[in-house]
Assembly symmetry: C2
């Protein structure tokens, strides 16, 4: 399928192993219940240029501390990820466990432990069930394959209900290059890096410093624009690997096809970010908030995220209630400068239905039936326009439902 | 009743009219359904020294704009408050309506309109039903009485389930002085001024600049430490009046009994703030978060508020689940500096039951049964101690429940 207005192609059944030279696996070690997959491995034989963006949570988990350090070398051959236990608030023992996982993985792959990044997600404050994981590592290494992408996507899930994966192709310097990614949500999701796990693989040749810079920049406008519950996790990481097997001329900020590459990577990250919002804990509706006309991009992002993160907006959307007052109220407390007299607000289903409810800061008479039709949709778009500048941003979230309370009022995550 | 360790006395059945010289009323004008009281008036014949603290929401409602301006004069004789309609996002018409209410009230009380502050709470973006309110004003003026305090407390309620009122007495310079207050919540409640309506009356003699300064300072540690849903409203106001009828020497920062006065005013504001948290929309449990050992008071406040405001903490408490990982995680993303290795966490019922679950940043073995007993209590205290300084703060909130979703998923507030 060729995406309209773009120069990249979405790969059918694309996965983290779609780029040349990447293998993956996902296995069950018994850390999670019901024989779910809980250990994922991503590997490429050729040393990849690597980049990473990590949580800003001050109670950073052991695997994040280690992977941040490893990523300073800007190269990787493998990422090992366990789900079901976050190895967070586990002190010295947690650090030792994380290092043991890293070293064991390196040993079974016959690579250096500095070439292995690690990530964990799940319950906080419980020591890792190391027996399960250490026994699982050789099995995960053995099962590495081109077909293992989907299993890896499943192996990183916690309360997620669907696996999140995507791959796109672009033509760079006459060579086909592929960019792929997997991610997991779906609680403790809120801006400030990454607030989830995301892994990107690609076979392009790229400059390490450019890779890091562009990953950070794109993360700001994609993964960091997702909010499910306002809680920024201890473990959030996005790690990207580029093994260079596509053989293009090195991608950097001066490459003539840079824009095409950025567009494709942006698409992958945005797709994953939106998938996380859609699969937010207990979500029944996907909410997109577009903010236009603000002074800076940072203002527009803050405005969009604040509206998308408001419990009152989220419950209104759940209730299919066109309570735009709550949207304007949350814009008001976002701390972003704007003139109320210039504010417009539209509600839309993201397709052809669109109702203007506020203009020049004042309520309009509008077709209530059409608003109800829009809000009955599974996807709702809130478009707020200020008249103070030319910066825009989009945030993604979901409604706040009885099921969110059910999941988090009884589930020990 | 004499409060232990304090020098003030709680007045039995105290209300906003307990201080000398204050009258109040609360009437039904038909703006709210089911014949609920929806218009409240507070009045004192002798011009009162006045102070006010207002919402920082950029989409400030018309009555807030007007009252902020009026309060610059630091004197008042009356406050008129309507509930059921916030007169927010109503533009020029909203400003005109607010001024009409102010002038009509002044006319019927035979005072100057610059001596009348106004406040509104309720639905956003709908023009005020002016006929009801204008017809109600003479009735509210007529019903002003010493007994009208409770009716005024009821007249300012929206989704509140109980009226919130308190009065305390102190002896200043040999004279009895009284400080009283009423407040309303209970949704759109989150720090950043006031996030609710609060009205304070007192008969003490006080310097206007000191009154404003101390009201702001106390608000920071009381009303602003309440979080129900993270949404800072367009209408939040705390307005205080001191008519000087108790005849003490002027209270100011050099008064020898200043501490006693501050303690009493602090008690009134804290009582009202806690009442708002307890009556949070859909709340089944009251949550107190104490933060100790931080570098600055501002850090301690931010830490306490972030924990109390976390949807994951709130749902855990609702589920009676000792998921302290969520508490530490939210401390982590609060942005406050602390060393994880120095963190202690206790869960308590606020009485004699207390369990230490974390020390030196590491989980402890603890009595799970005792934690369950604590969490089954209607009031839960989370005590987090850092080892980075000597500043403390307390925040108040409530759990996040099915009823919150029900109230806000269908109720047009």
């Amino acid at each position: 399928m060729k995406n309209s207005n773009t120069s990249f192609k979405i790969v059918d059944n694309g996965s983290i192993t779609s780029p040349k030279g990447f293998l993956a696996s996902g296995i069950c070690t018994g850390v999670k219940e019901n024989e779910q997959l809980d250990l994922a491995l991503i590997y490429c034989k050729k040393k990849a240029v690597a980049a990473g963006v990590f949580t800003q949570n001050n109670a950073m988990a052991a695997p994040v501390i280690i992977s941040k350090e490893i990523l300073k070398r800007q190269s990787l051959k493998a990422i090992i990820i366990n789900s079901g236990n976050a190895n967070a608030c586990t002190g010295k023992r947690g650090m030792e466990d994380a290092e043991t996982i890293q070293k064991t993985t390196a040993a079974f792959l016959d690579i250096d432990s500095t070439e292995v990044a690690i990530a964990s997600t799940g319950v906080i404050g419980v020591p890792l069930p190391m027996d399960n994981i250490i026994e699982g590592i050789p099995e995960a290494a053995k099962q590495l394959s081109k077909k293992g992408g989907k299993a890896a996507a499943q192996g990183i899930m916690t309360t997620d209900t669907i696996n999140k994966e995507i791959a796109v192709e672009i033509e760079l310097d006459g060579k086909i290059a592929t960019i792929a990614g997997i991610a997991k949500g779906s609680g403790m999701i809120h801006p400030n890096m990454a607030t989830m796990l995301g892994f990107i693989t690609t076979d392009i040749v790229i400059s390490p410093s450019y890779f890091q810079a562009i990953l950070r920049e794109i993360t700001e406008g994609t993964f960091n624009m997702v909010t499910v519950d306002g809680d920024t996790s201890t473990n959030d990481s996005v790690i990207a690997m580029a093994n260079g097997e596509s053989g293009n001329r090195e991608m950097n900020e001066n490459h003539p096809q840079k824009d095409m590459f950025v567009q494709a990577l942006q698409y992958v990250c945005e797709y994953l970010a939106k998938s996380i919002a859609k699969d937010g804990e207990g979500a029944s509706k996907f909410i997109e908030v577009e903010a236009h006309g603000f002074i800076t991009v940072s203002d527009a992002r803050k405005a969009a995220k604040t509206i998308a993160g408001s419990n009152l907006v989220k419950t209104a959307i759940f209730g299919e209630d066109g309570n735009w007052g709550r949207m304007i109220c949350s814009l008001g407390y976002s701390g972003v400068p704007f003139d109320m007299e210039g504010v417009k607000l539209n509600l839309s289903d993201g397709q052809e239905k669109n109702v203007k409810v506020l203009e020049n800061g004042l309520p309009l008479e509008y077709d209530e039936e059409l608003v109800t039709t829009i809000l009955k949709n599974q996807s709702v778009r809130i478009i707020v326009e200020a008249n103070n500048g030319s910066s825009s941003a989009t945030a993604w979230g979901c409604d706040l439902t009885y099921d969110y309370i059910k999941i988090n009022g009884s589930y020990r995550s």
